[in-house]
């Protein structure tokens, strides 16, 4: 029941920490993603980008493009 938790705490110290947490989370994820694409191998990226263009009859085994 929401009424039991709604006003459970009368005050919360330092509400300003919430926006800071949110920014830190976002910024870390962003940096990790940047780092990844910077270090990613060209062959893997090319393979991923070509996925929609591979026709159903493509049988050269490119789907097992292992380890990339």
């Amino acid at each position: 029941m929401l009424k039991f938790i709604k006003h459970h705490m009368d005050t919360i110290g330092g509400i300003g920490i919430y926006p800071v947490i949110s920014f830190v989370i976002f910024f870390s994820i962003f940096c990790i993603a940047l780092l990844y694409v910077w270090r990613a191998r060209r062959t893997h990226i090319d393979h991923m980008a070509s996925l929609p263009l591979v026709g159903p009859t493509d049988t050269n085994g490119s789907n097992n493009h292992a380890n990339q």
């Binding site: 005050t11 976002f26 994820i29 263009l53």
Partner: protein, 707 residues
């Protein structure tokens, strides 16, 4: 080892055809609603007033048109990107028919006035449960397909589908939590400020995760397909995905700027909304630049034309959105038709055009033939583009100028436009032009229907398309990058996406729920009387919130026009909140006590008797219909469960008090020469309207309480 299998094209065809059908129906309802704003006589009956048709329009275009388009595109691309048939044909069919059943029940219940009164989440609790169930079945089907795939890595489109699925599930469940009173009536679990925050966290992310992320998935699949070249930058698409889902989830509070929402939550919404420009434009440029070296083909291929305009509209809407989140711009644009123009750039530009492009690309392929007429598709393209322009530009003008009129003062410090209606009548021309734009757009859609029918007749459905691919070897893959690790593991992807979106929601909402100081209590604010509560439910049922806000912002132009600005503590018993998001009529938060009972009586019977030239629908049925008092007790009990402080014995006496208060209003109306009885719906509505926003004016001792 090469395996042979077949793609299921029938389910794609079914979703695609029903997309077209609901699209036309939803736009038609939108056009009727647009015309009702200029010709009130078109409101016809109590079941087809603007307040009931507008939710029908929004639900139809969002969940029926765009929803089915998502499913059509996802079922087509998932099978091909994963090199396998859908996990289960039976689940696909149940998903299809279940979703259509939900849409049909929405089309029946919304005109009947069964609504939870929260925008884009109007559907009542039994339908909400059905939506959750069908959505889960879709999820099982999608993840089942992913698990039996013959392609090791998941293409970026599939990440967008996964993020869509998990976020929509979370948003829908959290926002729809309510206490049922009857089969067709429930009260939101949340009240006032909290309800507003949850609703706009949902509302904003419905835009983000129902209208945007799945369509970005479709863009990343169908645009390279149609252009026959890989996406401009796959690396950019990775950044696009992670930044978008991490930022979007925070931006909801920008719908509540200058409202009674705590300041820190508003600021959080603004900052993240402005940051959204970056990933959105990254995605838009990625889409447009995919066409590098293929621009000559854009001239001839209607599919690419539709895609280019769709992606451009995405760019315009996602630049405008962050700008609208800046407090100063928001103070002008909010509550006006500017916002209606903004959402339609997204709706008919981005969603509509991407869907049309997809239809023209898919139908010939599903039916093994050529498009019946490229020329007609081009005609559709131009009609659609003109429609968007005629729709949006007049409304941008109207919104901007009406807002200035609301804020205009004479040199002596009085409002120039004292009567709200005067500002509305000034922009009536724009409503006509908007209806014209909508008509042109709709004619374009009919041209598409003809073209599709002709194409289908010329071909034959390839219900099961042969395909072959090597089986996925069960090799133990070691090493590699952590992100390629995620790309191989859909379940982990699901979990990470859920964490990403859940953190945002929790951090935004939990403090508002926990901290008492965020919602300052006002001792004179008391629960509604039974009659007022029934009247409030009529207010919700008639969809008054689609045109009237109950949120006076702390601007001099608003306090001068409406009265004291709205405080968070005034809404603590409002299940659901009714702040509204658009003022086609004036704000009603201080309407209580402003007019005599008789004014409201005549005004509801025919608004033009009290406000000559009024564009509001007439509600003569409220004067005729008897109030259903059988639900009073259960309603009060539900409110007690939700924490509204009525006495435990009160539900049993509720109807007696209801009648007593009704008799008082009837006696007062009689003095004004109006003969009616206390069991009419109008009496309850008058009781509610006279109560709205009056509690803070009263001294605690003199307030009429429910006890």
């Amino acid at each position: 080892m090469i395996e042979r299998f077949q793609y299921d094209n029938r389910i794609v065809k079914n979703f695609l055809f029903i997309t077209i059908l609901w699209g036309v129906v939803g736009m038609l309802v939108g056009l009727i609603a647009a015309l009702q704003l200029v010709v009130p006589a078109l409101n016809f009956s109590e079941w087809t007033t603007f307040g009931r048709l507008r939710p029908l329009h929004t639900n139809a275009v969002i969940f029926a048109f765009v929803g089915n388009a998502i499913f059509a595109g996802a079922y087509y691309s998932l099978q091909r990107l994963l090199k396998t048939r859908m996990f289960s044909d039976v689940l696909s069919k149940i998903h299809f028919w279940g979703w259509q059943l939900i849409i049909v029940s929405a089309a029946i219940t919304l005109p009947l006035g069964m609504t939870q009164g929260k925008e884009y989440a109007e559907l009542e609790w039994p339908i909400d449960i059905a939506i959750a169930l069908v959505w889960v079945l879709f999820g099982i089907n999608m993840f089942g397909t992913i698990l039996k795939r013959r392609e090791r890595h998941l293409y970026v489109a599939i990440w967008f589908y996964i993020a869509t699925w998990v976020t929509v599930a979370m948003l829908h469940i959290v926002n729809s939590i309510s206490i049922p009173v009857t089969l067709g009536k429930s009260y939101s679990w949340y009240a006032g400020v909290q309800d507003a925050l949850v609703q706009w966290w949902y509302g904003h992310n419905a835009v983000a995760f129902f209208l945007t992320t799945p369509f970005l998935g479709l863009m990343y699949y169908f645009l390279p397909k149609a252009a026959n070249r890989p996406v401009y930058s796959y690396k950019l698409s990775i950044i696009h995905f992670w930044s978008l889902i991490f930022i979007y989830i925070w931006a909801g509070p920008h719908h509540l700027l200058y409202s009674a929402l705590p300041e820190w939550a508003q600021s959080l919404g603004v900052v993240f909304s402005v940051m959204l420009i970056a990933p959105s434009w990254g995605g838009m440029l990625n889409g447009l630049l995919t066409l590098r070296g293929a621009w000559d083909r854009v001239r001839e291929d209607p599919v690419l034309k539709f895609f280019v305009v769709a992606v451009t509209c995405y760019g315009m809407a996602t630049l405008e959105g962050p700008l609208l989140s800046i407090k100063f711009i928001n103070s002008i644009a909010h509550f006006t038709d500017w916002i209606i123009a903004h959402v339609h750039i997204g709706g008919i530009g981005w969603n509509g055009f991407l869907t049309f492009g997809m239809v023209y690309w898919l139908v010939p392929r599903l039916f093994g033939t050529k498009l019946y007429s490229v020329k007609l598709a081009n005609v559709h393209f131009w009609l659609g583009t003109l429609g968007i322009i005629f729709y949006a530009i007049p409304l941008y003008f109207a919104g901007f100028f009406q807002s200035l009129m609301w804020k205009q003062f004479t040199p002596d410090g009085f409002l120039v436009y004292k009567n709200f209606l005067d500002t509305l009548l000034e922009i009536k021309y724009a409503y006509w032009l908007r209806a014209l734009g909508g008509s042109i757009y709709l004619i374009g859609a009919f041209v598409m229907v003809y073209n599709v029918v002709k194409t289908v007749k010329a071909g034959k459905l390839i219900a099961n398309e042969d395909a072959e691919a090597p089986a996925l070897e069960k090799v133990k893959v070691t090493g590699g990058h952590w992100h390629t690790w995620i790309e191989r593991r859909p379940i982990q992807m699901l979990v990470f996406s859920l964490i990403a979106v859940a953190i945002g929601g929790i951090i935004e909402m939990v403090p508002t729920f926990l901290v008492k100081s965020n919602v300052p209590t006002i001792s004179s604010v008391k629960p509604y009387t039974p009659l007022e509560l029934q009247g409030r439910d009529i207010y919700v049922r008639e969809g008054c919130y689609t045109c009237h806000s109950q949120m006076i912002r702390p601007f001099r132009s608003e306090t001068e026009r409406y009265g004291e600005y709205s405080k968070a503590g005034e809404f603590v018993y409002d299940h659901p909140f009714q702040w509204g998001s658009k003022r086609t009529g004036p704000d009603l938060h201080r309407v209580g006590g402003k007019y005599p009972h008789s004014w409201h009586y005549y005004h509801m019977w025919d608004p033009t008797t009290m406000s000559p030239g009024s564009l509001m629908p007439a509600y003569p049925h409220l004067l005729e219909n008897a109030l259903d008092t059988t639900t009073t007790r259960r309603k009060i009990e539900a409110m007690i469960t939700l924490g509204v402080p009525y006495d435990p014995e009160f539900p049993a006496q509720a109807n007696a008090e209801l009648r007593q208060q009704g008799e008082g209003i009837v006696a007062d109306l009689k003095k004004a020469g109006i003969e009616t009885s206390s069991d009419r719906e109008i009496i309850a509505l008058i009781a509610y309207l006279q109560r709205v926003g009056t509690d803070i004016k009263a001294k605690p001792a003199t307030v009429a309480t429910a006890q």
